[in-house]
């Protein structure tokens, strides 16, 4: 009761000042600015219902010419697909091999700042450009063909896998690390026994995802001459062979679906 006096007097003003959910004016201003910009940008780009309706007509014609798909040139199709698959698998494997040590170096909970920053910079650099842009660079540097595609997708894989893996490592429980460290284990053993088991399941998921992405991207890099089915697809587009385009696209979809099934199998094998 000693504090009764001072407490009772300003109660009403205090209640008025104490809102349960004070308005965040900065957030409101940001939302408003975003809405204004959205309308402005859409108007600038003629993103209008009328333009969309006109586009749909073209679309209908195009779709009708896609069917039925034409599998006559299956040998060409198969050759391109096999090359794309090889590019994807080799690039993914190289990407994983490079991003494993890199992500460990970039993990802030295990490594000092002088090591995490350079590692992070490498990843940011690898992630800065779309694989197709990187592929153009490599085509210029090492010439047409699968090598340029492999290098481009490896760079892309390091960028993304590195970031995902780093974040996974930074979320591990340090209790388990502490226990292994307390046994006098050398650093690499701490990594293998306390870090890797905690992140392995997620890594398998990331690698499967990246292989999947590389499969899709390997069909893209061919457009700029870096090997794979992309070149064939682009040529078919240029010649208005839409039924062959359809055959290629269906094959790509089938391959991606097959990859999905394989991923589930692999995860089951590793019990993750």
């Amino acid at each position: 009761m000693t504090r009764g006096g001072p407490l009772s007097l300003p109660r009403e003003t205090a209640a008025a000042a104490r809102l349960a959910f004070p308005p965040n004016w900065w957030a409101r201003a940001a939302w408003l600015a975003f809405a204004v910009y959205f309308v402005y940008a859409a108007a600038q780009l003629e993103f209008t219902p009328a333009r969309f309706a006109a586009g749909l007509e073209h679309g209908a014609k195009f779709v009708s010419r896609l069917f039925p798909p034409d599998f006559h040139r299956w040998a060409l199709l198969l050759k391109g697909m096999v090359e794309s698959l090889q590019i994807a698998v080799v690039a993914s494997a190289l990407g994983v091999a490079l991003s494993l040590p890199l992500s460990l170096m970039a993990a802030r909970n295990l490594m000092p700042a002088w090591l995490t920053w350079p590692a992070r910079l490498v990843m940011i650099f690898c992630r800065s450009f779309h694989p197709v842009i990187v592929a153009i660079l490599f085509v210029k540097a090492v010439g047409f063909g699968a090598l340029a595609g492999i290098l481009a997708l490896t760079v892309a894989s390091v960028g993304f896998l590195g970031k995902l893996m780093t974040e996974a490592i930074e979320e591990i429980s340090l209790k388990q690390v502490e226990a292994v460290r307390a046994s006098g284990a050398p650093f690499m053993s701490v990594v293998m026994f306390a870090v890797v088991p905690q992140v392995f399941g997620r890594f398998v998921g990331f690698v499967a995802y990246e292989t999947d992405a590389n499969l899709r991207n390997s069909t893209m890099v061919g457009i700029v001459g870096a090997g794979g089915i992309g070149g064939t697809l682009f040529a078919a587009f240029q010649r208005f062979d839409y039924d062959f385009v359809c055959a290629i696209v269906l094959t790509i979809i089938a391959l991606i679906m097959l990859g999905e099934v394989l991923t589930m199998r692999i995860k089951r094998i590793f019990r993750v």
């Binding site: 429980s173 209790k175 388990q176 502490e178 226990a179 292994v180 460290r181 307390a182 046994s183 006098g184 284990a185 050398p186 690499m188 053993s189 701490v190 990594v191 293998m192 026994f193 306390a194 088991p197 905690q198 392995f200 399941g201």
Partner: protein
């Protein structure tokens, strides 16, 4: 089970602490400069028996235990273990010293996705090269001992189970097996029973006591449960505010002393 070289080093030390397995001198720890969590702890631990450290939460019990194997870096003071000051060891020497100090944790700290056997063998990681450990090429002797230890703690049938499939009591048994697997010359236990039910708590304490006697290593255990401390420890250290306020046998631990350690008295009734 203290080995010959260690015994020789001890014999060469002329002072009173020579007979101690571990001797902590003026240990200070500040997480934030100027705020002492440990305000100059000085304690000697005999090469046998169980010492219980009791005290209210936040009084530095865990910090004390973690300073001993330097999971927490001490700010000042000496930690003399088998004639060497652990506080001054370099990385490599510290790892070598840690191999002889087992540790048991409150929340078990098992590597959840590894099997029970792999967790127990973690206790040998200080002796096996990372490459061999990675390939699971542990010496046959170690594997045989691991099976024996698992039988001792009653988990022989669970060797291939994954650690996250076990109950709390089972996990702590694995944690103890892992620590004893190191063939420790000192066992640290940080609140080993706080996450367990009363019956399992007693079993875990009894297990540590039994292993301590058969393998001949001293145990330092942080514990909240005063009754368990009285029942199993031969010596009780009471801490409050980062200082030792009681150090003696459990029989002399009366209500007055408990009041000094924990403050207040309502809780005693």
């Amino acid at each position: 089970m203290s080995s010959l070289p260690a015994a020789a080093v001890e014999a060469s030390r002329p002072d009173a602490a020579a007979t101690a397995a571990l001797s902590v001198r003026g240990l200070v720890k500040e997480y934030v400069p100027g705020r002492q969590v440990l305000a100059g702890i000085t304690l000697d631990f005999a090469p046998r028996g169980m010492t219980a450290v009791i005290g209210p939460s936040g009084t530095g019990k865990s910090t004390l235990i973690r300073c001993i194997n330097r999971l927490v870096e001490p700010t000042a003071g000496e930690i003399v273990f088998e004639g060497r000051d652990l506080a001054r060891l370099g990385k490599r020497e510290l790892r070598a010293a840690r191999r002889h100090i087992g540790m048991v944790f409150q929340e078990y700290n098992l590597v959840e996705r590894l099997t029970v056997m792999e967790n127990v063998l973690c206790g040998r990681l200080g002796y096996v090269s990372p490459a061999k450990a990675w390939l699971r090429r542990f010496p046959a002797r170690d594997v045989a001992r691991a099976f024996e230890l698992l039988d001792t703690v009653g988990l022989g049938a669970f060797a291939q189970a994954r650690a996250d499939s076990l109950s709390g009591g089972q996990r702590q048994r694995v944690g103890i097996a892992r620590a004893v697997m190191q063939q420790p010359r000192l066992l640290l236990a940080d609140e080993p029973t706080s996450s367990l039910d009363p019956k399992t708590s007693v079993e875990i304490m009894a297990l540590m006591q039994a292993l301590s006697e058969t393998h001949g290593f001293p145990v330092i255990v942080n514990i909240h449960n005063v009754e368990l401390a009285r029942r199993f420890a031969g010596r009780i250290v009471g801490m409050t505010g980062g200082r030792v306020v009681y150090d003696g046998p459990p029989e002399r631990l009366d209500e007055t002393i408990l009041k000094t350690i924990y403050g207040g008295e309502d809780w005693l009734e």
